[in-house]
């Protein structure tokens, strides 16, 4: 009797998950497995002839200066946005959490950039960064600060960070909401008790608030890590990976060689490497951040 019930339950459960399972398999699992296969080929993305070349693409990845450069750019950008974006988001969350009036206005204002698409935000900032016609240099010139004018997207020392600034501007509001939700769940009793014991605002923040919102840190750092590793839109619009190779990240390299330069096989191998890099970095990050979390 129990066995029959169990069998019937399985069918129903399968019926519920079947549509999602079929679509997920068709559109995610199968293409991903196909990607693994194509990474061992020299396929150009067009020809019906797909030639198996073994590990040649992976050998090129480990010997190519271009991949190394893209990896370096990706790491710099990811570290930059992980730190700055979270610092900015936490600051904004603290402002919104503590203001006495206009809380909703501030929250909405800080969140608005999140609603703008990556492509559009890229265009907006590209115009602002323009050396000759851009808002930033025009303002600096008007203020008599000509010496501070920069070729924001043409100076190889600045460009990557300028792209990072746009990502922070666009993403901080999203992380702010997560921090804000976490801040609002911190028990007022604990804060008041510490206050009565004479703890300063900084001591209360460091010893009570930060440990209690550590779950939000884990989520936000994980998300910003992933977003940093797969940033594409803004680079595509603002720099096209340039000047030279200055802002070419792993995802952009994948796109350029795979879709633009007729080397789908190599591009896919870059994608597979990126998959492993994300898994490894995320696992390490999770391990570190989870160890710092405080369970209430």
């Amino acid at each position: 009797m129990n066995l029959t019930k169990q069998k019937k339950f399985d069918k129903v459960a399968f019926a519920f998950i079947a549509p999602a399972f079929v679509f997920f398999t068709m559109f995610i699992i199968v293409p991903t497995l196909a990607s693994v296969y194509y990474s061992f080929t020299s396929w150009d993305g067009i020809s019906p002839n797909v030639k198996f070349i073994g590990l040649a693409n992976y050998k090129e990845i480990f010997t190519s200066a271009r991949f190394g450069n893209a990896l370096k750019n990706t790491v710099i950008l990811t570290v930059f946005i992980s730190i700055v974006e979270n610092a900015m988001a936490l600051s904004l969350a603290l402002i919104v959490d503590n203001v006495r009036w206009g809380k909703n206005i501030f929250r909405s204002a800080f969140y608005i950039p999140v609603l703008i698409s990556g492509i559009v935000s890229g265009f907006i900032w590209k115009i602002m960064y323009n050396y000759n016609f851009g808002t930033i240099n025009s303002v600096l010139q008007s203020a008599g600060l000509d010496g501070l004018k920069q070729d924001w997207l043409g100076n190889t020392k600045l460009t990557l960070i300028m792209v990072g600034v746009v990502l922070v501007w666009k993403g901080a509001g999203y992380y702010m909401v997560i921090y804000l939700a976490s801040l609002q769940s911190v028990s007022v009793d604990l804060i008041e008790a510490a206050q009565i014991d004479g703890a300063s605002p900084w001591q209360r923040f460091r010893a009570i608030t930060i440990p209690l919102i550590s779950g939000a840190f884990t989520i936000n750092f994980t998300l910003s890590l992933i977003n940093g590793l797969k940033v594409f839109d803004q680079i595509n619009v603002m720099t096209d990976g340039g000047p030279g190779f200055t802002t070419e990240t792993l995802v952009y390299l994948l796109y350029k060689v795979g879709f633009n330069e007729g080397r789908q096989g190599f591009g896919t191998a870059v994608g597979i490497m990126l998959l492993f890099i994300i898994i490894i970095l995320n696992t390490l990050q999770q391990k570190f951040l989870r160890s710092k979390e405080v369970q209430m």
């Binding site: 019906p48 040649a56 190519s64 879709f259 633009n260």
Partner: protein
């Protein structure tokens, strides 16, 4: 532990989603169709003309049943869209049994778009083809008949067959300048390379504007400059340099190739501040606003300059090579209208597609195309275009040049470049021009990349060709 596992699983799934686009052709989106007849308002043909031609054709149908064809071109330019719609409308009116339907072509990323259309099984019957060699090798496009190829002064062959009907002569590059500014300051068109550099120096010393405006953010724009110097330094010494590089008898550490970088370093000191982040689309603005005195670009820029500065008195001159010869980009290139292999396999579609291509190059239609696109005609029959004086001057310069040929990346046969090498070269060039890499290091990187590229593509040995 469970949380860790779920978290890692989520990360994997997100990355897999990103990767999914690379390996499979089944998930890519497609564009919706847009029939040419939707834009009849833009058609230039009169009703009378359409009726007359329709009557003439009605008695002599070239298909045995109603036939539909799809057409895709790089429709980024409004003028291009308008003229193509007008020609297609006229064709459809002339041949009632044939309907050519224009599909959106995503001009900004046309190559990728065409690839996507192929991946999802929507490769058009007729298309503007740019990556001809790749599609010929993939068996996606069919050879054109003698009826069509004989229409042109020159064509590009692949193993004895012609696959593209060149819509325009190669985009001849030269210096566009403001004649009034030159006259006012007593500047004259240089007749030698050294005079060109002297002119740049004079304008720089004057200090009211930059001598040159360069759209360095678009690497294809840098390609104009690169080809000029490459032509001066490399092609002037060895027209088959790329072939010899495939054979291994030459490499990119060659003195002539290094001289290409040196020449560009000399020229680029006269570019405007911020050239590396200036898009090509903005360079006409510099000219219109008297921020730069000269720009180096192709014939397509005539219309853009006219739009940006309608009153500007535009002058043009080619930059001579340092050895005194005039080497220009010109002649029929590798790109043009092509017919898909699938269409060629259907007798009706083949006949209709060939008829459309011939119709496109009929003088009345082709004249309209050339005038709208500032295109240099490629047909044996001169379409008698009414062109701006500056455009006439460019066409004359092409006729008078010591050497004309396609861009270094537009050559076929044993001098065809690996698909990824052009962009790599331009990006490396930008690094050199910005001082983040020296020339020796750049040529070393180019040699490494070349060796890797040759492993999958070498027309001399046949690797990647079969």
């Amino acid at each position: 532990m469970k949380k860790k596992f779920i978290s890692t699983l989520l990360v994997t799934a997100m990355t897999a989603t990103m990767l999914a686009g690379c390996g499979s052709s089944s998930t890519t989106g497609t564009a919706t169709g847009e029939t040419a007849t939707d834009t009849t308002g833009q058609a230039a043909a009169t009703e009378t003309e359409q009726t007359e031609t329709a009557d003439a054709a009605a008695t002599d149908s070239i298909v045995t049943e109603p036939t539909e064809l799809t057409l895709i071109f790089a429709d980024g330019d409004d003028g291009y869209k308008t003229v193509m719609n007008a020609i297609v409308d006229r064709f459809n009116a002339t041949y009632p049994d044939i309907t050519v339907t224009i599909e959106p072509g995503n001009g900004g990323a046309y190559s990728e778009f065409l690839k996507t259309k192929d991946s999802v099984g929507e490769f058009p019957d007729i298309m503007e083809m740019r990556d001809t060699a790749v599609y010929v090798r993939a068996g996606k496009i069919a050879p054109l008949s003698e009826d069509i190829t004989s229409l042109f002064k020159t064509t590009t062959e692949f193993d004895g067959s012609v696959y593209t009907a060149p819509m325009a002569g190669e985009n001849t590059d030269g210096i566009f300048y403001n004649k009034d500014y030159f006259d006012k300051n007593g500047f004259t068109e240089p007749t030698t390379y050294d005079e060109f550099l002297e002119l740049c120096q004079k304008i720089k010393d004057k200090g009211d504007m930059s001598p040159l405006v360069v759209g360095g953010q678009d690497i294809w724009h840098m390609g104009f400059w690169f080809h000029k110097a490459y032509s001066d330094q490399v092609l002037s010494q060895d027209a088959d340099f790329i072939k010899h590089a495939y054979e291994g008898t030459k490499d990119f550490s060659d003195d002539t190739f290094k001289a290409t970088f040196e020449e560009l370093k000399t020229i680029m000191q006269y570019a405007q501040d911020g050239w590396a982040s200036t898009p090509d689309a903005q360079i006409a603005t510099f000219m219109a606003n008297d921020m730069s005195a000269m720009m180096f670009s192709g014939t397509h820029m005539v219309a853009q300059l006219k739009a940006a500065a309608p009153d500007m008195n535009i002058g043009w001159f080619p930059i001579p090579s340092p050895d005194g010869k005039m080497r220009l980009v010109g002649g029929a290139g590798i790109s043009g209208l092509a017919m898909s292999t699938e269409a060629a396999a259907d007798s009706n579609k083949k006949a209709a597609a060939e008829e459309f291509i011939k119709f496109f190059f009929e003088s009345k239609n082709y004249k309209e195309y050339c005038e709208t696109m500032s295109a240099i005609p490629t047909t044996v029959n001169d379409p008698q275009i009414s062109a701006e004086p500056v455009f006439v001057e460019i066409m004359q310069a092409v006729d008078d040049a010591d050497e004309i040929g396609p861009m270094w990346n537009g050559r076929s046969g044993e001098n065809e470049l690996p698909t990824d090498f052009r962009n790599f070269t331009y990006k490396t060039l930008i690094e050199v021009l910005q001082g983040t890499r020296d020339i020796d290091s750049a040529t070393t990187e180019l040699n490494k990349t070349w060796q890797t590229s040759m492993e999958s593509f070498n027309p001399v040995t046949g690797v990647g060709i079969e």
